[in-house]
Symmetry: C2
Subunit: 568 residues, 2 copies
């Protein structure tokens, strides 16, 4: 056995632990030491919120591997409660502080991997010491929060920030029967989703008893109270700060390693920092966005594991092509599932140079409608015009949304076009999908748009269309119309379209909708074939409109543009 190298790893969670395990599989002789400043290595970061609701019963379960197991199974030394405080790059050693004893010592390295992660941002808001403030980063954090809450079962809790962690914490605390206020400073939660799509989630959160506030920010804290810019005062025995995370770069910075334009650690395509003996992976680094070719921070577990493997393989002399990311994510929000991949509309609109694009927004059943648990799935997909290249997608529903997004993410990996989606052969049986799956259907709609077969406007334009006095035709049947419709919309059922077509003027734009957009699409095509030039399908139709208007109508107490919402 040849002499091994000293390989040190800073951080023992996703990226660090993965790098260590992969390194070991390539070599028995290397000495691998992993330093973790917390008491646990290899815990399930993303599962932390589920401990609050009791879905995960035991906090110990959150810890996947302990140092003993790392040593025995992988011959990897995992040193917990030990913080790497400095790197001496010239002499290739790190200084480690044993947080239990307070003593510091040195450990020399041949290769060093930084996987310190990102830390919750805690803005310095006046009065911050007047509330019981918590963040959610690790097992210690979540246990602290949980113990505190358990002591006062009727506790009111405020969650500040509507990102993934904020929403998951709000949901799990609600399920544990705490009275939860969720405060988001912008006009929407969960940035990967477009404003029109996210309204479905806004409604879900609001309907589930969360006091859900958008467009309001924390001015200051008073005793057990959050004071908002609007003047609202939220009573909260516990405050969870979840406004975002910042890469842990102190160690790298102090060692003189280069940071990137996002202020995260800069790495090359082999995940080396500007010191070739020092690698960095995970939430602390910036990566390349495969779509807009810009660097970005990406706090996702999947990419961290991919980076870890790449770094380990590079250390062992394996070459690979450059790794860039599109960023796929998923979240459960009460009874709804949501997933997204690639760019959203705001990101596409911000591309430089500008590109022409269009989108598909459809609502279809997630499985055969006859199945007892079938439910509508809202799907939005962006593509470049005229190439059809897929740019991103979002899906929300009770059913299997991650499947559809994963298929799109896979097509995007191969630089697929919306036309390619028509040909995908997806596995079908009534309990799982429909014979023409949502993804195929999106392909057809997108191809039709690329071909110029029809025109559409998105559901977010309906209020404006009405205000401008345009003609909206509701092609649903009379009974459906009676149960709720757009004020001022003309009801002309698809089943009467051909006999009553003379009632539709040819000299002005006509906007058609039905429940989900499928019947109105057929009506649009029929009208075009009958010589109408200026007809538009309203994407998502009445169902999407109900979701789009509901939360803000209630919140702003503004006049509704429908007689009744209809979510069925």
């Amino acid at each position: 056995m040849k002499d091994g190298r000293n390989i040190l790893i800073v951080g023992g969670v996703a990226g660090g632990a993965s790098t260590a395990a992969r390194l070991r599989r390539s070599s028995e002789e290397d000495r691998i030491i992993m330093f973790e400043k917390g008491p646990h290595v290899s815990f399930s970061n993303c599962s932390l919120p589920y401990y609050l609701s009791g879905e995960i019963e035991d906090a110990e379960d959150l810890v996947l591997m302990d140092p003993e197991l790392f040593l025995k199974q992988y011959h990897i030394e995992a040193r917990v409660n030990q913080e790497v405080t400095a790197i001496d790059r010239e002499n290739k050693f790190v200084t480690v502080k044993n947080l239990a004893s307070g003593e510091s010592y040195r450990e020399s390295y041949d290769k060093l991997i930084l996987s310190p992660g990102a830390a919750p941002i805690v803005p310095n808001i006046p009065g911050i010491d007047k509330v019981n403030l918590f963040t959610v980063r690790n097992v210690v954090d979540i246990e602290k929060l949980n113990q505190y809450l358990k002591a006062v079962p009727s506790m009111e809790a405020a969650v500040i920030g509507g990102g993934f962690i904020g929403v998951e914490v709000a949901e799990n605390l609600t399920k544990a029967e705490y009275k939860v206020t969720l405060i988001e400073g912008t006009n929407q939660i969960l940035r990967p989703y477009d404003y029109d799509m996210v309204q479905i989630l806004h409604k879900e959160i609001s309907d589930n008893g969360v006091d859900f506030i958008v467009e309001d920010t924390v001015m200051e804290f008073e005793k057990d109270t959050v004071v908002l810019s609007s003047g609202r005062r939220i009573k909260a025995g516990a405050v969870v700060m979840a406004v975002g995370v910042a890469p842990e770069t102190k160690l790298a910075r102090e060692a003189g390693l280069l940071l990137g334009e996002t202020k995260a650690i800069k790495v090359n395509s082999d995940f080396q920092t500007d010191d070739p003996n020092i690698y960095a992976v995970g939430d602390a680094i910036e990566v390349m966005n495969a779509l807009n070719k810009q660097v970005m921070k990406l706090s996702l577990a999947g990419p961290a594991l991919k980076e870890a493997r790449r770094a380990a393989d590079h250390i062992n002399g394996r070459k690979a092509e450059e790794l860039s990311f599109i960023g796929s994510s998923a979240i459960k929000v009460f009874e709804l599932n949501a997933a997204a991949t690639g760019l959203n509309e705001a990101q596409i609109a911000a591309l430089e140079p500008k590109i022409e694009y269009n989108f598909v927004r459809i609502i279809l059943m997630d499985k055969v409608g006859l199945m007892p648990d079938a439910s509508p799935l809202h799907f939005k997909l962006f593509f470049e015009v005229p190439t059809g290249r897929i740019l991103g997608a979002q899906a929300i529903g009770k059913g299997d949304v991650t499947k559809r997004i994963d298929v799109i993410a896979t097509a995007m990996k191969f630089k697929g076009s919306v036309r390619d989606l028509t040909e995908l052969e997806l596995s079908y049986a009534p309990p799982f999908s429909t014979a023409k799956d949502i993804v195929n259907y999106a392909g057809y709609v997108g191809s039709n748009l690329l071909n110029g077969d029809f025109k559409q406007v998105n559901v977010d334009k309906v209020r404006g269309i009405l205000e401008e006095g345009n003609l909206i035709i509701d092609v649903r049947e009379k009974g459906e119309y009676a149960r709720g419709h757009i004020k001022g919309a003309m009801n002309l059922p698809l089943s009467e379209l051909r006999e009553r077509v003379s009632e539709i003027p040819k000299d002005r734009p006509v906007y058609l909708h039905c429940r989900t957009g499928q019947r109105s699409y057929n009506a649009v095509m029929a009208l075009q074939n009958l010589g109408y030039q200026n007809v538009y399908n309203i994407t998502g139709s009445f169902l999407a409109l109900s979701y789009y208007e509901y939360f803000n109508d209630k919140r702003l107490q503004r006049e509704k543009i429908v007689t009744e919402y209809n979510f069925r």
Copy 2:
């Protein structure tokens, strides 16, 4: 409005109804008539079995559109109970028999589309009139079967044939508390699955109280009795024949249209028969297999809908590239879900010219293991060597198997390689998947195999390995070993591997396993790095072995090679 064409469609279910709707969207002036010999158009074929269990409560729900709605919404004439009995190609008319009145009439066409489907095969077995025989093709069939069974609630039923329909009927009848015998002539049900994978489903069917018989065929029928070749006699008040389907080619044959080598209707890449005015789609035609470039019959709804759209578009002058198929399918089998795409091992082995291939067979949790409903997912994927091109995949488990197969089917559409799977960014949150999803993991294992990093043998080889007196090492912990292990396997836990490595001989092959193959893979890598040349990972390990042996051990009452099975 210009003069329309007469477009006639034979068959009003998936392919026919889809062609009609697509034709209408391209033109208002064409006269479109759809003939269906049964009483229903546009019913959900694939959902029929679910009516037997009551999951679908009302047979009327199975019918998606009635002729009135076709007429009103699409201006399509759907004539039910009318059978097209002859085609006069020279004079371009068909003869139609009104099955209600018995009268025949002619209808002329400019374009004719054949979508007659496939009919259940009923072999001429002696005594066939001595049992109450049913087939499952349409709503009438399933209502007849259901009514018959309902009249005798304690009915014993036999299902002959373990294809998709046979298995679904057996399951749904079992759920309705009939005593069901499922009889399959070959050694396995559901041909898309390899023998080692399908054992998981064999166990599920057997465990759910179905009297499940393989490798036995029906010799003859006696009064309410099925007599098998083995001599077994199965009492059955109802017999469901589900041994397969044959394309309905009578009409085409009698009109002199060309059939292909599979005896299905031959079409070109625009789904035209050898008469350019006659198209054919759906189960009655043969299509091109994208992987082995051979023609095949493909009785799947998804391809039928794709073909329908292509035929309609060609009639309206739209060109498209050739459409070939890989064949993706899914089925629910009691609590398990199964899905498959592309070629299975038998099909790959039969390829001419022969290709070199390898496979990944792994078992991983379908979502983060901490989630209460997490469960193991069995996954098998074939790829070409050395290109890595993906050839097919199969997945079985309680969780989301169709997602993984759909991702693979998508990668295959783009001619993806197993290496590509490592880079897929799949949407992740603990309720849906793991940060390194099964698909990514399969990519890593496949890449390792391509790189020659390790060797494996499949679980189906274990009995042979034992019989040859080879050394099997079980690297699970002692407690796991005690709860069931391979007879004669040496227990050397991964956690003791390095200190006890001297106990492992270097001069003979060593076969390693653990519960699922992950720890044993780490052990294999460690041993190789310690100088062992001849070590193999047993794919699927003890969990797969338990499934692999269980059903046949019980059935054949043969000596078990394990002390106890373990399915946990």
